[in-house]
Amino acid sequence: MATDRHGNLTALLPRLVAFARTILGDADFARDLVQEAATRALAAQRVPDDPPAYRAWMFRIVRNAAVDELRRNRNFVSVDEILPDLWRFDDACIAKITVEQGLTSLAPAHREIIALIDIAGFSYSEAAECLDVPVGTIMSRIARARQLLLGAIEASTVRPLQSNQSRR
């Protein structure tokens, strides 16, 4: 039955929204996009049977829709890329709020690879298949994207509250 094949969809929705939001940088738009993607998935004739394949399939649908949207609305303004020294980085700056802020200033390609690995939870080989690139490219892309994200966090004036830090 069609509904059984989509049994995992409800559980995936929050992560799909976070994934789309990271790529697009817009929460409302991300929700609309995932809603549409879910509708499209439910209407699909061929649906992967096993849960990992279904998960990868759903993220691929959302990813493709998000990338199409980015292509249509090329309003991203690139900022200077800063590569900080990792061993001198102040870890106290890393918090959800600063990471969210930092992600918005990254180029779409860097946001995408972070979203695939850290939010969608793809392995390097799954991400390589999704983006149609070698695994080595994924390794270098994620390393560079994370370094740029740390650079963006360092350059930002947003700092997490001390009270949040003490709870960690």
Binding site: R15, A43, L86, D91, I94
Partner: protein, 244 residues
């Protein structure tokens, strides 16, 4: 080691630490980088920074509020969906008629006259008008209205999409009266004794053309639900979003 070799080693280490954080290293590689981290505090510190960064990014997904609901109607077959839409449209027409008769008219005499007018309106259609289902194209039926222009009673259905797409369908017995105002595109056709007109607001021509084809097919008796479904899905993915 010279500067160039140092730089290459640093780049290699960076890739490995990231892979370690992501759980992508083989046991032998893990042991190797662990040994290097034990001997190099900077490397260990870099690993801690990247692990913390990954945890914070993952936190975004865990805290993401999600108010989406799975559109159950989408799992239905086209024939089932059409039946539901038509039933909903009929129920809406009845509800509007009942509300007008019960609450909106002050005088009993006027209420009786209005009821007769609605009865005449519905009876005036020689065959039951079809309200097409465009859900697969992302256009959801918003409401159905009965109007009485000069040319005779007219059924009007409004559809809306998530990004500003809007469609208006007009159905009239015989020939359609004057063209409805507005709309960026329009198309008229006849199906048996009824005339249909579809107006698009801010919809790209290519997408509208596909939807028109599906609409025409749905209004015919010998329609193929699977073919219509395919056509509507094509309309959704093949064209840019609406601008209106």
């Amino acid at each position: 080691m010279n500067d160039e070799e140092n730089s290459k080693q640093h780049d290699r280490d960076l890739l490995r630490i990231n892979a370690l954080v992501d759980g992508e290293l083989l046991p032998a590689e893990r042991a190797q980088i662990a040994a290097r981290m034990a001997a190099d505090r900077n490397l260990a510190r870099s690993h801690a920074t990247l692990a913390r960064l990954k945890a914070s990014v993952m936190e975004i997904a865990e805290d993401a509020p999600c108010t989406l609901s799975i559109p159950k109607v989408a799992v239905l077959r086209p024939r089932q969906r059409l039946a539901i839409r038509l039933t909903a449209a009929a129920a809406l027409v009845l509800a509007v008629s009942s509300a007008a008769w019960t609450f909106m008219l002050p005088a009993r005499q006027q209420a009786v006259r209005e009821q007769k007018e609605h009865a005449i309106t519905l009876a005036a259609f020689p065959v039951r008008p079809v309200v097409p289902d465009f859900a697969s194209a992302g256009l959801i039926l918003q409401g159905v209205d009965l109007r009485r222009p000069a040319g005779g009673p007219m059924l009007v259905a409004i559809y809306a999409g998530p990004r500003g797409c809007r469609l208006e369908l007009r159905v009239q017995a015989g020939d359609l009266a004057a063209e409805a105002p507005g709309g960026s595109s329009r198309h008229r056709w006849k199906a048996g004794e009824l005339s249909y007109e579809l107006l698009a607001f801010g919809m790209p021509e290519t997408r509208f053309a596909i939807i028109v084809g599906a609409a025409e097919r749905q209004t015919r008796i010998d329609m193929d639900p699977d073919a219509i479904e395919r056509q509507l899905r094509e309309a959704r993915v093949a064209a840019p979003p609406c601008v209106g």
